[in-house]
Subunit: 104 residues, 3 copies
Amino acid sequence: MTTIDVFNHNVPAESDFGYSQAIKSGALIHVSGQLSFGEAGEFLHAGDFAAQLKQTYANMDKILEHYGATRNQIISQILYLVNPRQNAAAVAEGNLTYFEPLRV
Amino acid sequence: MTTIDVFNHNVPAESDFGYSQAIKSGALIHVSGQLSFGEAGEFLHAGDFAAQLKQTYANMDKILEHYGATRNQIISQILYLVNPRQNAAAVAEGNLTYFEPLRV
Amino acid sequence: MTTIDVFNHNVPAESDFGYSQAIKSGALIHVSGQLSFGEAGEFLHAGDFAAQLKQTYANMDKILEHYGATRNQIISQILYLVNPRQNAAAVAEGNLTYFEPLRV
């Protein structure tokens, strides 16, 4: 049987909504939507999209650390954002920084 | 070669849009978006979000049954909804009921 | 260790945003959002949704070709579109054409 390895940030949203931040099943780790949350689950950087993205990726790093994984092992990501035209440059900058060097 | 095991509710949307409700490929079952549909594919519970969510999970259960799987084996779910602020409490209640006991 | 096999269309968006069109990891190929783009990454068929969908699937075919895969091996797809009521018939027509014969 496949071993299930669950990870949480221990923030209220997890018990409020009944979900975990990540589950490893077989060779794949499925990660829930990461947000611009601080350690107590408080929303950070209102109005500053670039800072929100940076915080979101910092939370992603905690998940990678737990599983001993690296950014180079991320094979798929869906990024939901508001105002895509306005925030496109910040997305580009944030992704290029986070995933450097590119695997293209 | 991997065996493909497909499941359908036999509702018109499947043949209209050319998709199946679920496909098992290897160890993973990929499930299409479940909806608040009745057995004939008719939309149920207009205006009652909590009832729609319950119906949606009932349809999910039919898929799990077909594959002999349980709710505890669901490793990832994306829930799309309208008016998230207004419906957050119903989502929390619905998820906590469906996935009880929590795997956090 | 799992071999990573990456594919790109070599359009500006890939280096601008730091992503690849597809990554094969293990038995699964994860494909990024395909669009109504031409070979230079230019947006095609403005105002003609059916033609955009056809172009999007043509780009998908290039990815399948690279991996020696077929349409019948696609196990999951998320289709994002604007004006779903207005474009539903074109989605149905496009999917039924692309995925024929049905696996229902």
